[in-house]
Amino acid sequence: MELRFNEAERAFRQEVREFIARELPEETRQRMLAGKSPTKQMVVDWQRKLNAKGWAVPEWPREWGGPDWTLAMRYIFREELQMAPAPQPLAFNTNMCGPVIAEFGTEEQKKRFLPRMANLDDWWCQGFSEPGAGSDLAGLKTRAVKQGDHYVVNGQKTWTTLAQHADWIFLLVRTDPTAKKQEGISFLLCDMKTPGITVRPIITIEGGHEVNEVFFDDVKVPVENLVGEENRGWDCAKFLLGNERFGQARVGASRERIRRLKAIASTESMDGGRPLMEDPDFARKVTEIEVELKALEMTVMRVIATESKRKDKKPDPATSVLKIKGTEIQQMCSELLMKAAGPYAWVDGDPEAEGSNDIDVAPDWAFGLAGVYFNWRKQSIYGGSNEIQRNIMAKAFLGL
């Protein structure tokens, strides 16, 4: 039993940390420190830097540019990005669609899509959820009918994150409406410039534009953009979802938030003339989160250690623990940060604004913290809601 990272892994962490410190634009870091999403340009620039270094696609096979890292190294890499904080390689490209194409795609598809994906020459988005297919994803209704050398797609996707930036979308569509739910689904790649596609923004409660509705009206997708076999798209979907093994724990991101919270509450946020951190009730809430985060970190280590030895690619139900706890901790961090801001959390800033404090009423550190709190309620809903995670656990672990 060796519960520590080895010397090579610690050296790797140092290398990643130094690379980020040297290469990450300060403007990007500051924006993310303030709890805002990086702009499209920031994400693109950063991913190209990572790609030049050979680090943009940690999950991909070596022949398509993957660095051949162990799970522990991938974890360290992500943790360092989260703590910086720096943008992650765009998940739609690198974690979701890329690995699916590398696993199920034709040589032609790999050559055509993977290098551009890695370099973020194409921004991809995910067309899975529909108004009637949320937690019950296999209930999706968007139809694709083969006509000659095209599929004709009709239907609606929703919660499509950053579709407003996207050049391409990967889609789950129903190709056989007579088959059992999971057996009539196919995985298609679709150029967002194809006629018949309409993107409509959904503004979330904090005012941000992250997600969209995407409408398909007789959209023609060439048959060569089918990934894997027709009606076997559910295999791709399961593979994609199973790839997300420990990412949702986001231990590094929570540690970064707690570091910031404690800095603010120790110096800038006053309560009765004393730093808020000296209030025993507040300090206690922070400490409880720190303890839970430490336990989560060790749980992630356990998952990495067991996953490293597994040969099959089936999703590990232990990831449900990581998702549930990881999101609960992140949500609590966002809540405590908002509380630290007191009344100045109420300023309704524009989450899309370029600057960090466009209204200049609240202190810089306090600006927009309520928005982050509101926005982060999404975490226990997306990626398989925390209730779905409990269903998965009940079935997989408990045999209930």
Binding site: L3, F5, R259, A263, S266, L296, M298, R302, N391
Partner: protein, 381 residues
């Protein structure tokens, strides 16, 4: 990063599990509890045979040479059986004081007796007023010639009634709550000036109130002027065992609950088919896994050289284990329903041990407060 056990560790774990499967059925345990001492001499002798009683001592001193991982493995199995024997007081606590505070001569004399199962130890530390504060010591030790004479009262001395020797904390200098001036002494439990009143605790263990009236110490353990660091070290190592014991208890309470949910029928279907109960069971599993992670972390974190950081590590362990134990314990009762409220059903006994385990050397609230007062775990940016 590797959570696999070595071949030797696996053998150790399996042999303890086998012994307990054979000797610690629910009815057997009940019989041990009813016996005069409240635990089984026969099982104790078998612990000795397996090497469990010499586990942490060096091999050249008659021990097994086990480390914290071995302690964790054994304690988890004992937790699964809610074993009643004085293993933690004798081997982990008493053994810890001997390993870190006794002279080589004293260890040479005592370790073989402990390893053979002939000598039990108990930690006489808690006092009526001290609650969980390790530095709150009113009992006194006065120099008398070349030795020490002890006076005072100690309470809730776990397994104090069957111990052959007591490890006693007493003040050699300073005020009742001073960190400095605490000594640690070995006292013959049956010697003159020592009176003991034994009783049972709610979780089936034994404890004693101990009164010291001019009792002479047989030996000093560590520095009599400044013994608190030694106490801290041993308590931190004990937390490795307590955490693992709790994980063992939680595992069984959880497993029993799941099994019961599958067999118990209401409204013509197994109660396992109800989603509200499934989700609660999933939450129990989340808590159990978080606790197990922290039990592993305990075995690693106790090796930290800086005593302040080490104490923080162990505080975080106690905090998480205590929270998890409370949730898993309470919900195992709730999901069973009435049956788990009965003395005749094992689940409640796990709940009771978990409840006491949480409070030993400070409950989760105590350690969260400690961490909050000491800057927490994460450095401010």
């Amino acid at each position: 990063m590797d959570f696999d056990l070595t071949e030797e560790q696996r053998l150790l774990q399996d042999s303890v599990a086998r012994l307990l499967a054979d000797k610690y059925g629910f009815e057997q345990r009940k019989a041990y509890m009813k016996s005069a001492e409240g635990w089984s001499r026969e099982v104790w002798a078998q612990y000795a045979e397996l090497g469990l009683l010499g586990l942490p001592f060096a091999e050249d001193e008659g021990g097994f040479g086990g480390g914290h991982v071995e302690t964790m493995l054994v304690a988890e199995q004992l937790g699964k059986a809610i074993a009643l024997e004085p293993w933690i007081p004798t081997v982990v606590i008493g053994g810890g004081f001997l390993r870190h505070g006794a002279s080589a001569e004293l260890r040479a004399e005592l370790v073989p007796q402990i390893a053979a199962g002939d000598l039990m130890l108990a930690f006489a530390h808690t006092e009526r007023q001290s609650r969980y504060d390790l530095h709150d010591v009113a009992a006194t030790a006065k120099k008398d010639g070349s030795g020490w004479v002890l006076n005072g009262r100690k309470g809730m001395v776990i397994h104090g009634d069957s111990a052959g020797k007591l490890v006693v904390t007493a003040r050699t200098a300073g005020g009742q709550r001073d960190a400095k001036g605490i000594g640690v002494f070995l006292v013959d439990a049956a010697g003159p000036g020592v009176t003991r009143r034994g009783y049972r605790t709610v979780d089936g263990q034994r404890a004693a109130e101990v009164e010291l009236t001019d009792a002479r110490a047989e030996a000093v353990l560590g520095n009599p002027e400044d013994g608190l660091p030694l106490v801290d070290q041993v308590v931190d190592e004990t937390i490795v065992a307590l955490a693992a014991e709790a994980v063992g208890c939680m595992q069984v309470a959880h497993d029993m609950t799941i099994d019961y949910m599958k067999t118990r029928k209401q409204f013509d279907r197994p109660i396992a088919s109800f989603q509200a109960l499934q989700h609660r069971a999933a939450d129990m599993l989340v808590q159990l896994e978080q606790a197990r992670s922290m039990s592993y972390y305990a075995a690693m974190g106790v090796e930290e050289r800086d005593p302040v950081e080490r104490r923080k590590n162990m505080a975080s362990v106690k905090a998480q284990i205590g929270r998890s134990a409370r949730f898993v314990g309470q919900q195992s009762i709730q999901l069973h329903g009435g049956i788990a409220m009965t003395m005749e059903y094992a689940c409640g006994h796990y709940f009771k041990r978990l409840t006491v385990n949480d409070a030993m050397f400070g409950d989760a609230d105590h350690w969260v407060r400690f961490l909050a007062n000491n800057g927490g775990l994460v450095q401010a940016a």
